[in-house]
């Protein structure tokens, strides 16, 4: 089953809400850009029913080049994690298909 993409989301806005195709495409872009901007600015995103995008700051830690075995520190970084909301968890839990 093919993955849902931005084009599919835009088509849904066009078909379900009657946004014209250009508006729908722009809206989908803006939606994800708004969330990227928030996360970039250090603010998480909390979408009730869907889930929360959370920022985590990780300290520098020792790492190793798996090929050469050479020690290289992994620099401190900020990463985005997603914590699915209760409603989404419940909807997904019962999916019985293959992995």
């Amino acid at each position: 089953m093919a993955a849902v993409t931005k084009a599919d989301l835009a088509a849904a806005l066009n078909e379900e809400l009657g946004l014209n195709k250009r508006e729908a495409k722009e809206f989908v872009e803006m939606f994800f850009e708004e969330m990227r901007q928030s996360l970039e600015a250090g603010e998480g995103v909390k979408l009730s029913g869907f889930g929360n995008f959370i920022l985590r700051d990780k300290n520098q830690r020792p790492g190793r080049n798996p090929k050469t075995g050479e020690e290289i520190p992994v620099s401190a970084r900020r990463v985005v994690t997603f914590r699915p909301g209760q409603k989404l968890r419940e909807r997904v839990e019962s999916y019985a298909g293959g992995e």
Partner: protein, 116 residues
Amino acid sequence: MGHFVPGNRIAFLSDESQMTKSELIENLARKSPHLPARDVEMSVKALLERMSHALANGQRVEIRGFGSFSLHFRPPRLGRNPKTGESVALPGKHVPHFKPGKELRERVNDAISGTE
């Protein structure tokens, strides 16, 4: 990308404020004056519903520049009732998983480090 060293992952939750769904809707409404506010709200809800629906049916969601959502399978396991100590067989289940895309990873990380 370095290799993961167990026990050395010191992380903490950022303490910053969060953008809620209603703030997201307000921001988008402000940036799209040609759309009635009600359409913006319904559009945000429709996008989240379309993505949730896909996941509930085992379908992946791939948003270039943002990230992808998929399902991970958690195998059945023996749990325990914390009150009685009794073992309970817990069935396998799927849980939603998000993997940030390259642009999102870089923008979030460059905001603190400046380079990579």
